[in-house]
């Protein structure tokens, strides 16, 4: 077993570079090291100017998403051992503008997420004295899967539709809208409907399914989008068959 492994890291400095280029680093190869450990080693010992996002090291914060050998991955959960002895290529997430080195601009995602109103909407808030909004385990189960999303944006990097059409709302934003639509405490599905049922939202999705495959939290955004297509289509049929029906 070799005691070092080569990392090819994408570097981009907006002050001096016209386009990103790769820089190679030799780092110690340890079986228990993930790609993020190798990046931290480079930053500590070899090149302090290497720029990337990370925080929790345990797949919760969603900061350290990057392309590892072209595949969107959380670098804190991607072991060097799975790639050794070949060099490991680390790049910023696809489909996003690069700010510096491995850091991407996430403004677009944040704006789209906010448009989905991903919070509990009540027609009338009940006073605190009346207690909590109770929920049965079955009602929790209906949306729990979608609530596991950590906003790591790996699904956006995997989605060719988002790459080709930057207006597309994207997998995570729609899955999180669905997370609140399916919540028994929420009454905002009619508020979200106009945003979700647009061409740039659910109907932009062509069900490539890559978002679901790369999701580190098994959220299944592709499933969420198709299920909402069914909801929207049924809603349309209802509005045609019963135009007088209560909206």
């Amino acid at each position: 077993m070799a005691d070092t492994i080569k990392l090819e890291v994408s570097r981009y400095s907006p002050e001096t570079d016209a386009a990103p280029h790769f820089q190679s680093f030799e780092v110690p190869y340890r079986k228990d090291w993930v790609v993020l450990d190798a990046l931290n080693y480079i930053k500590d010992k070899q090149d302090g100017s290497l720029t990337y996002r990370w925080s929790c090291r345990m797949g919760i914060c969603g900061s350290c998403g990057m392309l590892v050998n072209g595949e969107p991955k959380l670098t804190c959960a991607t072991f060097l051992a799975d790639y050794a002895p070949a060099p490991v290529r680390v790049e910023p997430l696809r489909n996003f503008p690069v700010v510096r080195d491995l850091v991407i601009a996430m403004n677009d995602f944040m704006r789209k997420l906010q448009k989905m109103k991903p919070w509990l909407i009540r027609k009338e808030e009940k006073p605190v004295s009346e207690g909590e909004y109770l929920q049965s385990p079955e009602e929790l189960e209906a949306f729990k899967q979608y609530s596991m999303c950590i906003n790591c944006m790996l699904c956006y990097a995997a989605c060719p539709v988002y790459g080709l059409d930057p207006l597309f709302s994207g997998p995570a934003a729609i899955a999180l809208a669905q997370r609140y639509n399916l919540d028994s405490r929420d009454q905002g599905s009619k508020d979200r409907f106009p945003v979700l049922s647009q061409h740039d939202a659910i109907w932009g999705c062509t069900f490539v399914g890559e978002c679901t495959r790369v999701c580190p939290k098994h959220v299944d955004p592709a499933g969420a989008i198709q299920q909402y297509k069914l909801t929207a289509a049924l809603d349309w049929v209802k509005s045609v068959v019963m135009p007088w029906g209560g909206k």
Binding site: E15, T16, A18, A19, N95, P160, T206, E210, Q226, Q227
Partner: protein, 141 residues
């Protein structure tokens, strides 16, 4: 590293983000993308099959002579090859469609999610059954 002289100057309040263009051949870069594009293209071959079947019914209604011409067209090697390719795409389209149906539908019975194979399974069963009935009708003589 390219020289800074060739690119617009960097200023603090207007950081230059690097945007990579999506290649025209993005769908050739990963097998998963290619499989998706093939699945989408299969709809063209489904349309060919539908038009062909409509022609078959139309020529059948015009009498035996017209139908004989239709059959002779089908024997043309080019048309035969097209039909073989179409059949492969139709099978691919059907399999992927039924597999996806399980993911697009979330059916709950008694608060529990119905597993995917119980949704796609009956679809596959109905497909095989109807195909078998049609094959039996056509081949029994």
């Amino acid at each position: 590293m390219k020289s800074a002289a060739a690119t617009p100057p960097y200023t603090l309040n207007h950081p230059r983000w690097y945007r990579k263009r999506v290649s025209t051949y993005w769908w050739l870069q990963r097998w998963e993308y290619l499989r998706f594009v093939l699945r989408e293209i299969s709809s063209v071959f489904i349309a060919i099959f539908v038009v062909e079947t409509l022609f078959q019914i139309y020529t059948l209604s015009r009498g035996p002579e017209a139908y004989a011409i239709f059959l002779s067209v089908l024997k043309n090697p080019f048309v035969f090859a097209l039909n073989v390719i179409s059949l492969l795409f139709v099978v691919f389209h059907s399999i992927t469609w039924f597999n996806l149906s399980a993911r697009a539908m979330s059916i709950r019975v008694g608060g529990k999610k119905v597993p995917g194979f119980l949704i796609s399974g009956p679809n596959f069963a109905a497909w095989f059954f109807i195909s078998a009935v049609i094959a039996w009708l056509l081949l029994r003589s």
